[in-house]
């Protein structure tokens, strides 16, 4: 069994759903260590006091918030933790919303939920009721000394929990400077573009996509381990199409032939 990273209770009204939180994602990025080029020895980081020029043990580290150039308000780590908020280990679902109303851009990290001790009935009840209603529950979650806005929704047999981005963290599209074309795309161009989109339409199969770069990094490491030399290719450059309609036509022709 995967170890849970948090145990607590989800509530809605007076209904309590004991849950355990598990990671739903895992990174496969290949990690490197920093080493000293000269002798290949591992690099370690040292915290040095800029005044005394001496190493600072972790217990003597405080946190500074810079209020103006070089002037800091100093806080102990537990003073910062005090901002986390209520630590009662509950996530109260305060509101339920239509899942389709929540744009995925609001979802940040994702976790699987499992039922906690004696919570299977309540878990299944919340799961089924959310599935039927097409809704997600919104609440607050204190995790690792920080409060998150979260959404709880059903996914297959699971309840999943997403931490969410706040509205003010998102850049609004109307703040972007998007140049307007001299004229709107013509009906013919739209029609051709739609045909092209349709011709490239597929069912979403996530497993069809592979991180081939990750494989190449692995391969590079294997080749270097055998002492091989690596060659350098040149990048290519793309240009905007002069004639949009012609490019669309040619694309459609290319696909038909």
């Amino acid at each position: 069994m995967a170890r849970s990273i948090w145990n607590g209770t989800i509530t809605f009204g007076l209904i309590a759903v004991p849950i355990r939180v598990h990671s739903a994602t895992e990174s496969h990025t290949i990690h490197f260590h920093q080493v000293h080029a000269k002798d290949g020895a591992r690099i370690k980081q040292k915290r040095i006091c800029s005044k005394e020029r001496k190493e600072v043990p972790y217990e003597e580290v405080a946190m500074g918030y810079e209020v103006r150039g070089g002037e800091f308000v100093m806080l102990e780590k537990d003073e910062i933790d005090a901002a986390a908020g209520d630590r009662s280990r509950t996530i109260a679902l305060e509101q339920f919303v239509e899942r389709t109303e929540v744009d995925p851009v609001f979802y940040d990290r994702v976790y699987y939920l499992g039922a906690g001790d004696d919570g299977q009935d309540a878990y299944r009840l919340l799961h089924d009721a959310l599935e039927r209603s097409g809704r997600a529950g919104i609440g607050r979650w204190v995790f690792h000394n920080r409060e998150y806005l979260v959404a709880v929704r059903p996914l297959n047999k699971f309840l999943v929990l997403h931490t969410m981005r706040f509205a003010d963290e998102l850049v609004s599209a109307d703040k972007l400077e998007i140049p307007s074309p001299s004229r709107r795309p013509s009906d013919r161009e739209l029609e051709m573009a739609e045909q092209l989109v349709s011709s490239l339409q597929k069912a979403f199969r996530p497993s069809a996509f592979k991180d081939s770069y990750r494989d190449r990094v692995r391969d590079l490491i294997a080749r270097k381990a055998k002492g091989e030399e690596i060659e350098l290719p040149a990048p290519e450059k793309a240009e905007a199409p002069g004639d949009l309609a012609a490019a669309l036509e040619a694309s459609l022709g290319k696909r038909r032939s």
Binding site: L14, G40, Y65, L75, R124, L125, R216
Partner: protein, 274 residues
């Protein structure tokens, strides 16, 4: 205008749209610097060699991959660049999918794509792609390389702009088979329980108004800093009272509905308070 993180082109068929990528998320977190508690002096992080015990400059640092046998392979920046694919400056649209078919679990980090140049051809191609995806409620899938990592991306129309979200690869989403106690057949709720739960959910339902949900953590942290600056001491808040235990599900559902009818617990207002 936010700084471009990537520039290249978005291509579908023979249509190329030169684009730049800018962040769709801004960092509003408060950032702290480590200080030496004793004298308040900022702490510098230095890199030291674990063998020689001397400080090491950036130009003397290599990247090493540790092998299973304990040995290591040194990999240079140039070598990593050399294995980046040729399409490194292109987001090649491989397919279009119905947006509703892509579960949000795959969405990772959002960005906007903007036309890279002011020329009319780019602006029109950009507009065309935005319009056609909005009309068809479809999104484009493609892969690209940014900062030495290959990404799967979904590009869609978002308020008149092209939004790109990096996505998790299928093998980065765990299957969850090791999560104990997901929804189980043997714990199926009764029709009566389900009806009551649906009524509670209905009662607590509202429109998704993202702007109503404020980052209270950020606000409290600012407050902590401000109070500390004035010389006040900071104490952790007391935990809220635990929810009363109601082990009987049906009883909890009924009591909740009864409270709601009496207007005792208008939970929807709670999110407004601190």
């Amino acid at each position: 205008m936010p700084r471009a993180l990537w520039s290249g082109s978005l291509s579908f068929g023979l249509v190329n749209v030169p684009v730049v990528m800018v962040p769709a998320v801004r960092d509003l977190d408060l950032h702290f610097r480590q200080l030496h508690a004793k004298d308040g002096a900022p702490i510098d992080v230095q890199r030291w060699c674990s063998k020689e015990d001397v400080e090491v400059g950036w130009d003397e640092i290599d990247r090493a991959f540790e092998l299973d046998d304990g040995g290591q392979v040194i990999v240079t920046d140039e070598e990593l660049e050399a294995i980046e694919p040729r399409r490194t400056r292109t987001i090649e649209i491989e397919s279009f999918v119905d947006l509703s078919e892509v579960d949000p679990i795959y969405f990772d980090h959002p960005y906007y794509l903007l036309p890279a140049s002011g020329d009319d051809g780019s602006a029109r191609a950009y507009r065309l792609l935005t319009d056609v995806m909005a009309r068809t409620e479809r999104a484009a899938l493609g892969q690209f390389v940014m900062r030495a990592k290959e990404y799967l991306a979904i590009v869609r129309s978002h308020d008149g702009a092209l939004m790109l979200s990096t996505m998790l690869f299928a093998d980065e989403v765990r299957d969850g088979n090791d999560v104990e106690n997901a929804a189980q057949k043997s714990h199926k709720p009764s029709a009566q329980q389900l009806k009551a739960a649906a009524a509670v959910i209905e009662e607590l339902s509202g429109k998704w108004e993202p702007g109503e949900w404020k980052d209270r953590y950020r606000r409290r942290l600012r407050d902590v800093v401000a109070r500390k600056r004035k010389g006040q001491t900071i104490k952790a808040p007391k935990p809220r009272e635990a929810v009363p235990e109601m082990p009987d599900l049906m009883a909890a559902l009924e009591q909740t509905l009864a409270d709601m009818r009496e207007g005792k617990s208008d939970k929807r207002r709670e999110k407004q308070e601190a």
